[in-house]
């Protein structure tokens, strides 16, 4: 007749949005005695014999007697105070009550005695207000065999600190959106303040469900009290139940006192469940709330995004001139210009050149460095027309020259350099070495790279003397925008989806046939796009997506 026991006594953490006061827990304790086991066994035998159709009628053996002494089942609400026999006797006596809480208990006990009496017998509770609740962990500290398998071990310093914390809330200052309004620094912390704040302490409300497991004649002895279930909750919806609900598995095992009696413990969640109509209503309310919030956010910005016209690549460069180092003289400034090749156009009201401020250098390591952090940005559009389809795409260039200005207002050139706009969008940190072309200055700064007047095949700089000077550091952030990128992204996603759906048919032939179908559909879509009048296309890109999906089904 050995039962299986549930040995998993760990605590379970639940999260809920509902109020904790709706929590109901059904607790059942049942004693495992030899007579109880025997009587059950006999009952089973008799019943099975009767079912077999035996003609003998016997009186069923039951040990009625005092059934209530050996088992009890109770539904307990959150922070519901149920008195034990010991407490009933204690609080009956008015002289023993000192605190207002005990006086309140005294009144309740008197009322209970006048009425039917309490509904519990063995099972009782300690709520958050009882002083026993706080000292329970300290008592358990003595039995530190919870963690280790040695019978004797001393609690550590940290363990002592944790148990001697008051589990109720500390004096919290008013906090408003995370920023405390009162003083931030405590210049003279007290010992208790230090003890409370050096250790993680989530403010929890606790409740203990206990049972008095002594012999039925001698209820009310404090030594026979045994902790059954501990329920803790913090203000934000976390509920910790130790031990966890049985959920249909085997009951827990409690061994008491000197006599070593064994009891079975079953814990169940008996809270009322929300009706499905209420659940639907709650979901609808949430959904409306979120939609309203999304509408509000959308109304802040508006729904249209600025798009470039069809067939135009918009290029946006956000750059900064960070620093210059390694030059001969002091008080440097940089003069830069942006050159846009053919087929590129910039917006009319932006300037394509700029001058930074003059900066005195400071030594950093072996070199002298000047800091500019000069922000500039450039927006350019590239239109691809038919005649230049064969030639390579030319990207815009940034030319710059570094000059120094001394205290007599003399200006001398320190160096020239160029930087190509990055072709791939992203962030680039570029260092550019310079060269200086002797003391006369360059007439045409584009000579630095490829002169504008150059038309041949080989560029020869024979006879041009230069020496290397310093470095200038740039940070470039580049973004590209075009309508055709929208289709490319959508097509790529659709292709992935279809390939995933292929699944088991992942043969080469099947994959390539799908890809061919895509190419055909895309071509059809492009042809259809060209045939449509212009104003239809320049509206949102939604139309193009619809077109492609329609054509795909053809």
């Amino acid at each position: 007749m050995t039962d299986c026991w549930n040995t998993d006594n760990g605590e379970a953490v639940f999260r809920t949005r509902d109020m904790v006061k709706n929590l109901r827990i059904k607790v059942r304790v049942e004693k495992v005695t030899s007579t109880a086991a025997l009587s059950q066994h006999l009952q089973h035998q008799v019943l099975s014999q009767q079912q077999d159709g035996g003609a003998i009628e016997l009186q069923t053996l039951t040990s009625q007697g005092h059934k209530g002494d050996n088992e009890e089942e109770l539904v307990v609400g959150w922070q519901e105070k149920l008195f034990s026999q010991y407490e009933m006797e204690l609080f009956e006596n008015e002289a023993a009550c000192q605190t207002p809480l005990e006086r309140q208990y005294h009144l309740e006990v008197k009322a209970l005695k006048k009425a039917r009496g309490r509904r519990n017998r063995r099972i009782f509770t300690y709520t958050d207000h009882d002083r026993y609740t706080n000292s329970l962990p300290f008592n358990q500290l003595q039995y530190s065999s919870i963690l280790l398998n040695t019978s004797k071990s001393w609690p550590t310093f940290l363990a002592e600190r944790m148990t001697s914390l008051r589990q109720r809330g500390q004096d919290q200052q008013k906090i408003d959106c995370g920023v405390p309004k009162a003083k931030i620094i405590n210049w003279e912390p007290t010992e208790e303040f230090v003890r409370n704040t050096h250790v993680v302490n989530n403010v929890m409300q606790t409740m203990h469900i206990m049972a008095d497991l002594g012999p039925p004649e001698k209820l009310g002895q404090k030594e026979n009290e045994c902790l059954l279930v501990t329920i803790k909750t913090d203000g934000s919806g976390t509920v910790i139940v130790k031990p966890d609900f049985n959920k249909g598995r085997e009951p827990y095992r409690i061994v008491t006192g000197e006599k070593k009696e064994v009891w079975r413990l079953t814990v169940e969640n008996a809270s009322t469940v929300m009706k499905p109509e209420q659940k639907d209503r709650e979901q609808n309310i949430y959904r409306d709330l979120y939609t309203q919030h999304m509408d509000y956010l959308n109304s802040l910005v508006g729904q249209d995004f600025e798009m470039p016209p069809v067939g135009v690549l918009r290029y946006l460069l956000n750059g900064e001139i960070v620093s210059a180092k390694g030059f001969e003289y002091d008080n440097l400034y940089i003069h830069f210009t942006i050159e846009l090749p053919t087929n590129w156009s910039g917006s009319p009201n932006q300037s394509l050149s700029g001058v930074t401020h003059t900066c005195r250098t400071k030594p950093m390591g072996k070199e002298d460095v000047a800091f500019f952090s000069h922000l500039f940005s450039c927006e350019a559009s590239y239109t691809c027309d038919k005649e230049s389809e064969g030639t390579l795409l030319q990207w815009p260039v940034l030319y710059f020259k570094v000059l120094s200005l001394d205290s007599w207002q003399r200006c001398r050139t320190e160096g020239y350099g160029y930087l190509l706009f990055p072709a791939i969008p992203g962030t680039v940190s570029a260092l550019r070495r310079f060269f200086i072309g002797g003391s006369p200055e360059l007439e045409d700064i584009s000579y630095v790279r490829i002169p504008g007047t150059f038309k041949g095949e080989r560029l020869s700089r024979f006879g041009f003397c230069s020496e290397t000077t310093g470095n200038v550091t740039f940070n470039l952030h580049c973004m590209q925008q075009a309508r055709s990128f929208v289709d490319a992204n959508m097509l790529r996603k659709k292709r992935q989806r279809v390939l995933n759906q292929l699944g088991g048919f992942s043969q080469q032939g099947a994959v390539s046939s799908v890809q061919e179908a895509f190419q055909r559909a895309r071509k059809k879509m492009q042809e259809a796009q060209e045939n449509l009048p212009k104003d239809l296309i320049s509206s949102t890109s939604q139309l193009q997506i619809e077109l492609s999906s329609q054509l795909k089904t053809i």
């Binding site: 949430y286 959904r287 979120y290 939609t291 999304m294 509408d295 956010l297 959308n298 802040l300 910005v301 508006g302 729904q303 249209d304 995004f305 600025e306 798009m307 918009r314 946006l316 956000n318 750059g319 900064e320 960070v322 620093s323 008080n331 700029g354 001058v355 930074t356 401020h357 003059t358 900066c359 005195r360 250098t361 400071k362 950093m364 460095v369 000047a370 800091f371 500019f372 952090s373 000069h374 922000l375 500039f376 940005s377 927006e379 969008p425 992203g426 962030t427 940070n475 952030h477 580049c478 973004m479 590209q480 925008q481 075009a482 309508r483 055709s484 990128f485 929208v486 992204n489 890109s541």
Partner: protein
């Protein structure tokens, strides 16, 4: 729970999440930083603080002042122009409690998604040599009348400055729905 209803629109959104780590290379320690983010007209701040001030940090060991000041911004936009940029002012608080300017720094918020480590260089305006001598003894010094003037960029060449230290930032950039409008970054 928490499932949103059908989107009707898709706004382009930008998240900037990161911290101002600290500053180094300044002649004085005991520094704090005032920072702010500047955007174009098409950008709307959905949540987060667009400017702030760090605490004063006095390094005990080493010379880098650490602030670890959080930056958490959520923008929505109608266009790519006016991409956000960050402006920083590093100030020094001396033992008498006075504050003096140590440097201005400016940098663009990166446009490619991911983790970025940014070193923003700073500079300080200089006066005449007499004013510089006075500044060496009793502090003070010139400040920009309106730091926002820098963004227009036109008058910058008039300034005479000297190089100061660098401010370290770590920023994580998250873009949303930009690819639906054909933006590659």
């Amino acid at each position: 729970m928490g499932v949103y209803s059908i989107y009707r629109y898709n706004m382009a959104e930008l998240h900037i999440i990161g911290q101002i780590v600290g500053a180094s290379g300044f002649p004085e320690s005991c520094l704090f930083c005032k920072w702010g983010v500047h955007t174009g007209a098409a950008w709307r701040l959905l949540s987060g603080l667009r400017e702030g001030q760090t605490q004063v940090d006095l390094p005990q060991i080493g010379e880098m002042a650490y602030w670890s000041h959080p930056i958490d911004l959520h923008y929505a936009t109608k266009g790519l122009q006016g991409w956000p940029s960050l402006h920083l002012q590093v100030w020094h608080q001396d033992s008498f409690g006075r504050s003096e300017l140590c440097g201005y720094g400016y940098c663009h918020v990166p446009s490619s998604p991911g983790h970025h480590r940014i070193s923003c260089a700073t500079w300080r305006p200089l006066g005449t040599w007499q004013e510089q001598l006075v500044q060496k003894f009793i502090g003070g010094g010139h400040q920009l009348r309106k730091p926002d003037l820098i963004y227009s960029g036109a008058d910058r060449y008039r300034l005479n400055t000297e190089a100061m230290g660098t401010v370290e930032l770590e920023l994580d950039i998250i873009l949303r729905h930009f690819d639906k409008y054909g933006v590659n970054s």
